[in-house]
């Protein structure tokens, strides 16, 4: 009977974290495909990429980078808080993280809708009238930031679940590996943005 009980409470935090890291590798490779496409077309149409990148608002991009970086910090602080047993602080910090993520998405929404308003979206008349390289740049812009935004949503959902699990006492001072994994995922979302930001907004 002892075996059965030990089986139910079997817990291996190292394994959970290793699993998360491997999953993060797969996510990086998923985006890696898009980065490869970016590299190929950037080499082929560097002039067009230069012109198209001027269209993007570096200020909005920078603001979003700062927002995501701070949110990465708050999620890391939330993990430290739970390690120190401060449940309330951890919940507050996670709430701040979610708030920052929402700001990011609001910025993104205005950025996208501004472009769409000007008729700049895949398949539009305006896009088809552009040079091929510019068209591909905006195609990449929508594909990469769109896929990234999807990951922001998933990350927000994960962190929201973590918040409720801290509240209900499932994540505690000595069992916080799920929060740690959620934090790792959030850092991944941040990391990908840190690559997207210069590639799309800064290199002109």
């Amino acid at each position: 009977m002892e075996n059965t009980i030990s089986h139910i409470v079997h817990r291996d935090d190292e394994a959970s974290k290793m699993g998360m890291w491997i999953f993060i590798f797969t996510e990086l490779l998923l985006f890696g495909g898009l980065f490869l496409v970016y590299a190929v077309f950037r080499a082929k149409y560097s002039e067009d990429f230069h012109i198209a990148a001027m269209e993007l608002n570096a200020f909005v991009g920078t603001a979003n980078t700062v927002i995501l970086l701070i949110s990465s910090m708050t999620v890391a602080m939330a993990i430290t808080a739970i390690q120190k047993g401060d449940k309330g602080l951890s919940i507050k910090l996670l709430a701040v993280t979610l708030l920052l993520a929402t700001f990011f998405m609001i910025n993104k929404y205005f950025e996208w809708s501004g472009k769409i308003h000007h008729g700049l979206y895949p398949g539009s008349e305006v896009m088809l009238g552009l040079n091929r390289g510019q068209l591909l740049f905006f195609g990449l812009y929508y594909a990469t930031t769109g896929l990234h935004a999807l990951h922001v949503f998933i990350g927000m959902a994960i962190l929201a679940v973590m918040l409720f699990r801290i509240k209900s006492g499932k994540i505690t001072q000595d069992n916080f590996v799920h929060l740690e994994n959620g934090g790792l995922y959030w850092h991944l979302v941040d990391l990908i943005w840190i690559f997207l930001f210069p590639l799309l907004y800064l290199i002109t």
């Binding site: 075996n3 059965t4 089986h7 079997h10 291996d12 190292e14 394994a15 290793m18 699993g19 491997i22 999953f23 590798f25 797969t26 996510e27 490779l29 998923l30 985006f31 890696g32 495909g33 898009l34 490869l36 496409v37 190929v40 077309f41 082929k44 149409y45 895949p122 398949g123 088809l128 091929r132 390289g133 068209l135 591909l136 195609g139 990449l140 929508y142 594909a143 896929l147």
Partner: protein, 543 residues
């Protein structure tokens, strides 16, 4: 240590009663053994569907001209046959069925590292498989692009390509999760004393496979998404009219799909590596070489994808490089073959069905592998590119390799999985029919391919009649063998005589527990004190 063979200490996993009863007790079970059987049944059902498609194609090719289907139907047939066979059967096949069932047992664990994730993988798999079948019937007609989904055609075809692409994406996700689970399981769950180099060789091959699943599948995932974006949003990464590049698609596709070949074959190699020592009653020859060669195949296999594209337009130096590496990757495969043969040398050979399948695996794999070198050489590739020669080559590797490896594993582990023996005589006969039919079916395709018969054509010139006719006869023989084999196994699962714990006198851990295994595999986690495959002729199982 006879205490390890405990009868009735725990109920077997087949009888065990969990939270749910009946079917629900299976489809919601997180037990790795039940999940393995869920995969097995799903795979067998889809395999039979794809076999029927294959047979219909062979009937169409019996005689020149249109016999039973239109060209468009034929295009859909080979696409569906390919998508189902590749993404639902051969890629997940061995690791999802035998990996799930035996990996934890072979390393002395009670389950995989993430049992619930394991169940989720099956659900995702089932969802993807249903999508793949749906793409045949829903909407604007079955996809007709071939399983490779080459652009620009896949971006333009009116058929149901998006659903088929989504299915492949979903199935890839399932494959990633299985791979992730196995890597962590092997790192974290090995029994005390089981160092890396005391691990049996099937787990080694699964380990190499899992890394390919994890690191290569995302690339095809994003590529398929890009084709979907191309069709639905007109993004145009691969469309020359929009500035895109179709060759880029081929690169991205084969960066995954060539390593995927090793996802198919490596676990099959692992299975036969378990079988040769058991049926020779001799320690495996060159344990370390076999273990390392699995990793070498996985590693080098990443860098050979270009050999699918020798005629697509690549620089001479790129082609030279890919051709060279293709020859290099043959080396670790050959190392394995030599080791298997050396394992049998002067062994006490017991020619039972698993060994018959394993030996025919070597035979067919060698033909497939050596013809692969014909395709990997730049000069000969131009001659046989996109001909029936290629079709014959990859069927020898995939069906002759992975398929026969699967059948070998099925006959090897069947007594353990179901606790019953199958009819050995009938299994031998089924093997004979299968093996004969296989060679009749695929060997002529090498010949007509050399003579210039293109692949994926529904009609042909009269000079290819003889080859096609023999090939189609072979298809019927092969299908007879498959039916006989499956009949034997299904009947034996219910009515076969009760199997002992160790019918083949195997030495690895799965043979030290009762048949079928109890729910948690081991009452007490075993402590490993030596290398695997140590045979003691008078008292097996003793350390």
């Amino acid at each position: 240590m006879s205490g390890l063979t405990q009868e009735h200490a725990q109920p077997s996993y087949l009888d065990q009663q969990g939270k749910y009863k009946g079917l629900l007790g299976w489809i919601f079970s997180t037990d790795h053994k039940r999940i393995a059987l869920l995969y097995l049944y799903t795979i067998v059902v889809f395999f039979l569907v794809a076999v029927v498609f294959g047979l219909l194609m062979r009937i169409e090719l019996f005689f020149p001209g249109q016999d039973i289907m239109s060209p468009q139907t034929y295009n859909a047939m080979f696409t569906v046959h390919g998508v189902i066979m590749i993404f639902i059967i051969v890629i997940p096949g061995l690791s999802a069925v035998f990996g799930n069932f035996f990996l934890p047992i072979l390393i002395g664990a009670k389950d995989v590292a993430f049992p619930r994730l394991n169940l989720l993988s099956w659900w995702i798999f089932l969802f993807g498989a249903i999508l793949a079948v749906l793409s045949q019937f829903a909407g604007s007609g079955a996809p007709d692009t071939g399983w490779t989904f080459y652009v620009p055609y896949s971006a333009e075809s009116d058929s149901n390509v998006v659903i088929a692409l989504t299915a492949a994406f979903v199935l890839g996700f399932s494959s990633i999760l299985t791979g992730l689970n196995f890597i962590v399981t092997i790192h974290r769950m090995r029994a005390p004393g089981m160092t890396w180099f005391r691990m049996p060789l099937f787990p080694w091959s699964l380990y190499a496979t899992a890394w390919i699943q994890v690191l290569a599948t995302p690339i095809v995932g994003i590529t398929l998404l890009m084709v979907i974006a191309e069709r639905t949003l007109h993004i145009g990464f691969f469309d020359p009219a929009l500035g895109g590049d179709p060759i880029l698609f081929q690169h991205l596709f084969w960066i995954y799909s060539h390593p995927a070949v090793y996802v198919m074959i490596l676990p099959a190699m692992g299975v036969v590596t378990e079988i040769f020592p058991t049926f020779s009653q001799k320690p495996v020859f060159g344990y370390t070489a076999i273990a390392i060669s699995s990793l070498a195949i996985a590693g080098v296999g990443y860098f050979v994808w270009g050999h699918h594209m020798f005629t697509s337009g690549m620089s001479y130096s790129a082609r030279w490089f890919f051709s060279f590496l293709t020859f290099i990757v043959a080396v670790p495969s050959a190392i394995k073959v030599f080791n298997w043969l050396s394992t049998m040398y002067k062994g006490s050979i017991d020619l039972k069905p698993p060994l018959l399948y394993a030996i025919s695996f070597i035979f067919l794999f060698m033909i497939g592998g050596l013809t692969g070198l014909v395709l990997g050489s730049l000069a000969t590739n131009v001659q046989v590119h996109d001909t029936a020669f290629v079709v014959a080559h990859f069927h020898y590797i995939i069906f002759g390799g992975m398929g026969f490896g699967f059948f070998a594993g099925m006959h090897y582990w069947f007594p353990k999985m179901y606790g019953r023996m199958y009819n050995i005589k009938l299994a031998n006969i089924a093997w004979g029919i299968l093996f004969t039919g296989f060679n009749f079916l695929y060997f002529p395709q090498f010949v007509i391919g050399m003579q210039g018969m293109p692949r994926r054509y529904f009609d042909y010139l009269p000079q290819f009649q003889v080859g096609h006719f023999i090939s189609s006869i072979g298809a019927f023989i092969l299908v007879t063998g498959i039916i006989l084999m499956i009949y034997n196994l299904i009947r034996s699962a219910h009515k076969g005589e009760v199997a002992p714990a160790n019918p083949w006198r195997g030495s690895t851990l799965e043979w030290q527990i009762s048949s079928p295994p109890p729910l948690e595999n081991f009452d007490e986690i075993p402590v490993i004190t030596g290398k695997p495959y140590q045979y003691n002729t008078d008292d097996l199982g003793n350390e």
